[in-house]
Amino acid sequence: MNDTGSLVTLAPDSSGPAPTGERWIRFAKPARWIAIAGAVGVLAAPFMAWAYRPDALDDVSFWGEPSPLQWFAFALGLLLLGCLVAPFVIKPRPGRRPRRLLAFNRGAKAAASGSLVYFAVASAAIVLELGGLVALEPGAWAGLAGALVATVATRALPEGHDPRLQFLNTPAWGQILGIVGAVALVLFAAAYGLGQDGASTFVTFGVLCGVGVYVAARVGVMGWLSAAAARNRRALVLAAFAVAFLFPMTQDGSDANMSIAVGVLIFAATAMGLNIVVGLAGLLDLGYIAFLGAGAFTAAILSRSAFATLGWSPPFPVVVLISGTVAAILGLIIGSPTLRVSGDYLAIVTLAFGEIFRITMNNLDGVDGPNLTRGSNGIPAIPDLELFGFDFGESHMILGVQIGRFANYYWLMLLVLALIILVFTNLNHSRIGRGWVAIREDERAAEAMGVNVFGLKLLAFAGGAFLAGIAGAVKAHVDVSVTPDQYIFMESAFLVAGIVLGGMGTVGGVLIGASILKLLPEKLRFFEDYRLLMFGVLLVVMMRFRPEGLMPDERRQLEFHADDDELAEEIGENIEAHVIPSLAGAPEPDLKGDDA
């Protein structure tokens, strides 16, 4: 009896807000007020001028009239203030257990450091663009100071409880509404970001997006969203495609961004094909771009271009199939002798294959070999597609919006990408996909279980190549000309980097990874020279902090963070339920005796 009594009195203490190791907890109260002061500074900053001259960022030189970027800063400030003030406003009803839906303290910490990063990047951009610290007006200083104060002060706040929002019982329509809202936000962000011409504005906006996602994750909104997305997978997929489909409508017939978008889609489609080979079957292919090239060259040779060397131009759907088949046959040719090696050796062989392809295309010029590709000149002047009377080269008015040439191709590519994703997921969730993953995990064990290792590897190679060939066929028409030097090793490396960055073996992750890798260099022309350096740094940083990729497979996440506390907690219940019975031995009856 005494024992149970002491347990009850202990309970409030042990659930109190003081995890060990947080030395500054006793300052939590004043710290909150100091942080609020900082937040007020952040909120005031947008109404002051940040820069001396108008040509930095999106003109932040006015007093009292915030530019969009300044409004975003204001929103960050509101977020910060809201997280700080919320505990005063939201009190548990007397006699009820607190619901703890959102982790406000974590949100405040994230919002504070996020604002600091945001102001730092914006200020750095101003300083760089206008030449010196003099260009910084009081607004920037106020924002920096406020964010810094808030950041330091929020460190003293306790970490608090885990957000429980994802366990909230939301009706299905609420979940779908949330998904649609989030996806619409993504569309807005993409359209707005791509609309920014200034590289510094683009970067600052990108930082804002990152900060927003981070805060949402810490506060618990992300957890709810991903739970809702997991439960309404179909709605998520539909919403994502609807948004991708609507994207050209936001561009007012301008082709500048659409050409980038088409490039991103082609890259993503190719990466998705490679994802079968690398992500599922675990075969590192460093020459994959050759299959895209094979598809492109096939489509170019079979096109109506005056420079096409065969003089036979079947309709495009047939060309697509032929391009895919040619690429797949190449995949079989390179695969059947080399798939007996694996790991690093396979990587080297495929790398060499990629180079062989490029050099061969260079040499099929009528001098060193038959004239098929016109050598390094390639095949230019590939005419636009015309499918079912729809001319892809023309602008069309659809629903009162001008849809230009690249927007047409964008929709075609979206269709191709959707097909490739469908093939990927259907294969992944089948006997074939399980066989691939088994081979990736343990080839010999898979073989001993009757998995047709060689056949499946070959299928992965040929299937991936087929998909890349299809993407290549469209690419030939988008690019107008096809030359061997578009298909260099660097492109293969970027494809692999995109997959690793996003999360191997996933659909969403690879789409995001590929988009980032393709989009950034397009928007940030000025760091063209440092592109490789930046990607190298990015990959090293990723490998250090998030080796499983941005949007990992659940499996992968566990693989890399098996001894991580938070994740361990998540899976803890499962494991506990499992380990304890198997450990159950002599001590069990003793404990029961005490309880009674």
């Binding site: 006997r431 343990d442 009757g450 998995v451 380990v579």
Partner: protein, 267 residues
């Protein structure tokens, strides 16, 4: 009675080393045969020869009236499933997925079926899942279906590997040290599991060092020493054979202490 598996004069040489030397062994349908022998006797190498992982230097293996080709996949399809001495699960797949891979050789969905989600794919997928769940339940891991196999306790990983092998619906199950590294409790559970597998009418060939396990479970025991079969017979015969004792713990100075020594090492 015709043997289910019959290995005839299987020899495996690695360069100058003869790991397995003219080993002949029969396993009758429904029989549990134990394979014992000191470390390095060639037991696992013999297993690898049986399952096609190694191509024997000479000799042949007949299974169910047909010669087994030295291809692991063909051996598996013929109906021989195995587990590994050091567990070889697909670590980043869930327990259920691991067992579903075991169904690979017994299903026929091809890429076309899967891409277009044809009826055959769906039918087989439901069927595969159901059977895999049944085998998980059979080995007592029904609750752990969604755990990653790498996060499972050691004893459960061993049982999962057996479930994966069982999903192949083999006629002969080869178990390579199923109780290695287990505590007495887990060993007892494994023993019970293998008895239940025998109840299904499957023949089992098991390598094991736990003598109590072997002698209480097996219908017949073969002892392998330095690559050759020393003795092949009823458990009692093998247990009391002085050559077996000698192979395991060396030549006794006199008979009485060696018997004591055996008792100690067992306890």
């Amino acid at each position: 009675m015709t043997a289910l598996l019959s290995a005839r004069d299987v020899t495996m040489k690695f360069g100058g080393l003869t790991a397995v030397n003219q080993v002949s062994l029969d396993v009758a349908p429904g029989e549990i045969v134990g394979l014992i022998g000191p470390n390095g006797a060639g037991k696992t190498t013999f297993f690898n020869c049986l399952t096609g992982m190694y191509q024997p230097t000479s000799g042949e293996v007949e299974f169910d009236g047909q010669l087994l080709p030295p291809k692991p996949r063909r051996v598996a399809m013929a109906g021989v499933a195995r587990t590994f001495q050091n567990i070889r699960l697909f670590q980043n797949m869930t327990a259920l997925e691991n067992v579903m891979v075991g169904r690979y050789a017994r299903t026929g969905t091809n890429a076309i079926d899967a891409v277009f989600r044809l009826p055959r794919h769906r039918r087989e997928e439901t069927e595969t899942r159901r059977i895999a769940e049944e085998w998980l339940d059979f080995v007592g891991l029904g609750e752990a279906a969604d755990l990653l196999s790498r996060n499972m306790p050691y004893g459960d990983q061993r049982r999962l590997e057996i479930a994966r092998a069982l999903a192949l619906e083999p006629k002969l199950l080869l178990l390579d040290e199923p109780t290695a590294g287990m505590n007495p409790q887990e060993t007892r559970e494994a023993e019970e599991l293998i008895t239940r597998i025998r109840g299904l009418g499957m023949a089992i060939l098991v390598i094991e060092h736990d003598m109590r396990f072997i002698f209480s479970l097996c219908d017949r025991v073969a002892c392998l020493v330095r690559g050759a079969v020393l003795i092949d017979g009823a458990p009692e015969t093998v247990q009391n054979d002085p050559r077996v004792i000698e192979a395991y713990i060396g030549t006794p100075v006199d008979v009485a202490p060696s018997a004591d020594g055996e008792g100690d090492s067992d306890a």
